[in-house]
Symmetry: C2
Subunit: 457 residues, 2 copies
C-alpha cells in the first residue's frame, strides 16, 4: 500500500475530527420520538458525506421507522465487493448530569473523543468513509468495490432492517460484509470476533389457585406454583452444569483443535474473571474452559424469576402464580426454532400436577460464525498486524448482535467484525468516548485491509 495514503490521513486529521464533531452534534436518538427529525438529519448528513468522497447511487431509503442510507462505488472491475455496515443512530443520554461534557458537543480530553456516538457507532462508521476517501484521493481508485449500508435503528433492535435487506438482496449483494461496531479485547490488542452466539428464550407462567391463598389454611394441600416452577426450572441442568433438555446439544458444532489452541494462546486465566466478577469460582459445563463456555457452548440461563411476596419480612401467602424468564445462547449449528420446540417439550414433560403452565416465546436470533480460516478473516488479521505490530487475536463473542445473524442468513456471505472500540469506552452510558489512537490506527488498518482483500478473495 502506498505510504501517501497514511500521509493523507495524518495531514487531514484535524479536518476529519472537525467533520466527525459535526456528525456527533446531531442528537440522532432513535428510541425517542422527539428526535425523529434529528435522526433524519443524521441520515442526510451520512448521504452527503458519502457523496463528497465519490460514492454513487446514493439514496436515503425510507422505512417504516428511520431511514437506511445506501451508497456504492463499483468501479474496481473483477475485484471483490465489500458491504460495509454501520449505524448513525445513538442511545439516549440520561442521566445527563453524569456527563462531564455535553453529550452532543464532542470534546477531546487526554486524546479521547467524548460524545454520544463517538465509539458506538458514528465514530467507527465515519472512519470507513474517511479511509476510503484517503485511498480515492491519493490513488484515484479503490482496490475493491464498496457498498455502504448505514441504518438508523440499531439501538432499537433494527426492527426494519431485515425486511429492507430481504427486499434489496440484489442491491446489497457482495462477497463479504464488514461491520465496525464491536470492541478490541484491550488497548493495543487488535481483535477479530468471527463468531457470535444466537439467542432464543421463553417465559414460563405457572398458574395454580385462582387467587393468592393463606398458607396456613391451604398450605400443604394445594400445589404451590412456586414449587412447581422451581421443579421445572431445576430440571434444566444437572450437577455438572450440563443442560438436560433432550436433544439440546445435537446440533452443536464441535470446536476444532486449531480454535481450541487459539483460545488457549490468548492466555486468559480464570483468576482474572474471578476477581473481575467477584465470584468464588467459575462454574459451568464440565469439560470446557471459561472461554469455551462463553464462546462456543450453548447456555440456558434464568434471567428472572418471581412469584409471591417480595417485601420486607414475611407474608404467609401461597401465591396464585409464579414466573420465570429464560434465554438460551445458541452456537452453530443450533437452530433457534428447534431449540424452542425442545424447550417447550421439556417444560411440558416436567410440569408437576396441580398447576397449569403457559410458555410464551421471546425474539430469536441465529448463531453466526465465519470460518476462522476464511481468507477475509485472515486478511483482516494481517491488516491489523501491519498497524498495531502485534498478533491479532481471533475471538468469538458470547453475546448476540441480531443484525449479524440477519446478514449471515439473508445475504449468506461471510461477516467480518472489525471493531476499534475498547471495552471501557462507556457505550450506552454517560461519558461515552473513543480513543483517538484507534481512530488513527483504525483508519490505517482499514486501508491496509482493502489492499489485503484485493487479491485474497
Amino acid at each position: 500500500m502506498d505510504q501517501s495514503i497514511i500521509t493523507y490521513l495524518t495531514e487531514n486529521r484535524e479536518k476529519h475530527l472537525a467533520e466527525l464533531k459535526d456528525f456527533l452534534a446531531i442528537p440522532s436518538i432513535s428510541s425517542l420520538p422527539e428526535h425523529k427529525e434529528d435522526v433524519q438529519k443524521a441520515a442526510n448528513w451520512v448521504a452527503t458525506a458519502l457523496e463528497q468522497i465519490g460514492m454513487e447511487n446514493i439514496k436515503v431509503h425510507p422505512t417504516k421507522g428511520h431511514p437506511v442510507v445506501y451508497g456504492e462505488w463499483l468501479k474496481a472491475e473483477g475485484k471483490p465487493t465489500v458491504l460495509i455496515y454501520a449505524h448513525y443512530d445513538v442511545q439516549p443520554v440520561d442521566p445527563l448530569h453524569l456527563w462531564e461534557s455535553p453529550p452532543f458537543e464532542a470534546d477531546i480530553r487526554d486524546e479521547k473523543l467524548y460524545a454520544r456516538g463517538a465509539s458506538d457507532d458514528k465514530g467507527q462508521g465515519f472512519m470507513h468513509v474517511k479511509a476510503l476517501q484517503a485511498i480515492l484521493e491519493t490513488t484515484g481508485t479503490l482496490p475493491i468495490n464498496v457498498k455502504f449500508l448505514i441504518e438508523g435503528e440499531e439501538e432499537i433492535g433494527s426492527p426494519n432492517l431485515p425486511a429492507f435487506v430481504e427486499e434489496n438482496k440484489e442491491l446489497l449483494s457482495s462477497d463479504i460484509i464488514v461491520i465496525s461496531d464491536t470492541s478490541m479485547m484491550e488497548r493495543g490488542k487488535p481483535t477479530i470476533c468471527y463468531g457470535l452466539r444466537g439467542l432464543c428464550g421463553v417465559q414460563i407462567d405457572v398458574k395454580g389457585p385462582k387467587g393468592d391463598l393463606h398458607s396456613g389454611l391451604y398450605g400443604g394441600a394445594v400445589q404451590n406454583p412456586i414449587h412447581a416452577l422451581v421443579e421445572i426450572v431445576n430440571s434444566f441442568h444437572n450437577k455438572n452444569g450440563q443442560i438436560t433438555v433432550e436433544g439440546f446439544y445435537d446440533q452443536v458444532a464441535e470446536l476444532t483443535p486449531a480454535e481450541k489452541e487459539a483460545y488457549l494462546a490468548l492466555g486468559i486465566k480464570d483468576e482474572s474473571f474471578i476477581n473481575q466478577l467477584g465470584v468464588t469460582e467459575m462454574f459451568g459445563e464440565d469439560g470446557y474452559t471459561t472461554l469455551e463456555r462463553t464462546w462456543v457452548r450453548p447456555t440456558l440461563e434464568v434471567n428472572g424469576i418471581y412469584g409471591g411476596f417480595q417485601g420486607e419480612g414475611i407474608k404467609t401467602v401461597l401465591p396464585s402464580e409464579a414466573h420465570a424468564k429464560i434465554t438460551c445462547r445458541l452456537v452453530p449449528d443450533q437452530d433457534p426454532d428447534t431449540i424452542v420446540e425442545l424447550l417447550q417439550a421439556h417444560i411440558k414433560a416436567h410440569t408437576p400436577s396441580g398447576v397449569t403452565v403457559e410458555v410464551s416465546l421471546f425474539d430469536k436470533g441465529a448463531p453466526f460464525v465465519t470460518p476462522f480460516d476464511h481468507p477475509a478473516i485472515q486478511a483482516a488479521g494481517r491488516a491489523y498486524e501491519k498497524v498495531y505490530n502485534v498478533p491479532t487475536s481471533f475471538t468469538r463473542g458470547g453475546g448476540s448482535i441480531p443484525i449479524v445473524a440477519t446478514f449471515d442468513q439473508i445475504l449468506e456471505k461471510p461477516v467480518v467484525l472489525m471493531g476499534f472500540g475498547l471495552p471501557d469506552e462507556n457505550f450506552h452510558a454517560p461519558n461515552e468516548h473513543f480513543h483517538l489512537e484507534n481512530f488513527d490506527k483504525g483508519m490505517e488498518t482499514l486501508c491496509h485491509y482493502w489492499f489485503e482483500l484485493e487479491d485474497s478473495l
Copy 2:
C-alpha cells in the same frame, strides 16, 4: 341452667346492642399512632364495662404499647377458674370508600351489625361481659371463677402480651383459657377449633457475582444465583409432596384414630375445595386427606421467590442475587427452634458451588393442641349443641394464632377456642359485620358453657 338467664338476655337485647354500638364507635386502631388515645379510650371503656357487671380488682395495665385490661370475679369457691381473653383493638378501615356505612357508626341491616370490630373482636369480647352479667344479675352468683384479660395490640401481633403474661403468671393462673376470636365453619354449624399449627420461617439470600452480568458475555461460565436458589428450593420436597429435610417429621405426633374418624365425619370433599380455589386438583403429602394435610401435618411453603428481571419481555441478565422466603407450618410436637436448625443444615448441605448463601430467620410460633377429649372441650361442645341443636364440629386450624401459643406455653393450661364469627364477615376488610343470630345464640352458649364447666373440671 335457669331459663331466666335467657329471658334476661332477650329482654335486654336492645340495651346490649346500644352499649356495643358505643364500644364500636371508638376508633381503637392499634396500628395507627394517631389513634393512640382512642385505643386508651377503648381500654377505659372495657374497664368500666367490667366494673359495671361486678368484676373486681380491675386495672388498666400500661405496657410499652397499648394497655392490657384485667378484671376478675373469684367468689365461686372450689369451682374452676376460667381466663377469658379478647382484644379491644381493631384493624384500619381503608379503603374507606368501600364501606356502605361508616365503620365507626355501627349500623344494623338485615340482622347483621356492620362496624369495624363488630366481629373481630369487640363484638365477641362484649358477649362474654354480657353473658356473665346475665348470670350474675339473674342468679346473684357465677358457677365458675372468671378472669378477664383484654388486650389492645392483637391486630399488630401482640408485641407486649407475652412479657405481660410472663410477668403476671400468678394473676392470670386459671384452669382453662377461653378465647372467642375465631369463626364457625359455616352458618348454624357450631365449631370448636382445638388445635392450630405453629410457624417458623427463613429467608434465603443467594449471592453470586458482585453485580448483574450480561448473560451473553458470562452466561455458562458463572453459577447463576437463580439456578443455585432453585436447586436449594427444589430439594425441600420429593415428588410425593413429602418434605425431605432430614428429621423434619421426627417430632410429629400421629393422628389418633378418633380424630381421623371425626375429620372424615365432617364430610368435606375435595371437590368443594377444588371449586372454591380454582385448582385442577388437590395436591400434598401422600397418604393424607386434605383436612389432615392442613390441620395435622406440617408444611414447608415458599411464600415468595425473586431474582433478576421481572419486567415486560426479556433482559438478558445473569443476576447478582436471588431470594426466597419460606415458612413452615408446624404441628405438635414440633419445636420451632429445632425445625429452623434442620432447615439451616439442609440449606447448607444443598448449596451448590459458586455462590454464597445467607439464611435469616422470621418470627416463630409453637403449634398448639388441646386434647380433643379434654373435658373443657367436650363441655363446650355440649353447650353449643344446647343452643344450635346440631352436633358441634371439632376442628383444627391450619393457621397460627400467636397468642394461643403464648398462653399454651407460658400458662400451660388448655385453651378453648369458642368462635362465633362466620367466615364471610369481612374481618380486616371493608363492611366487617357480625350476624346477630350468633350474637344472641353465642351469649346463650357461653352461659350454658359456664354451667357445663362447673362440674366438668
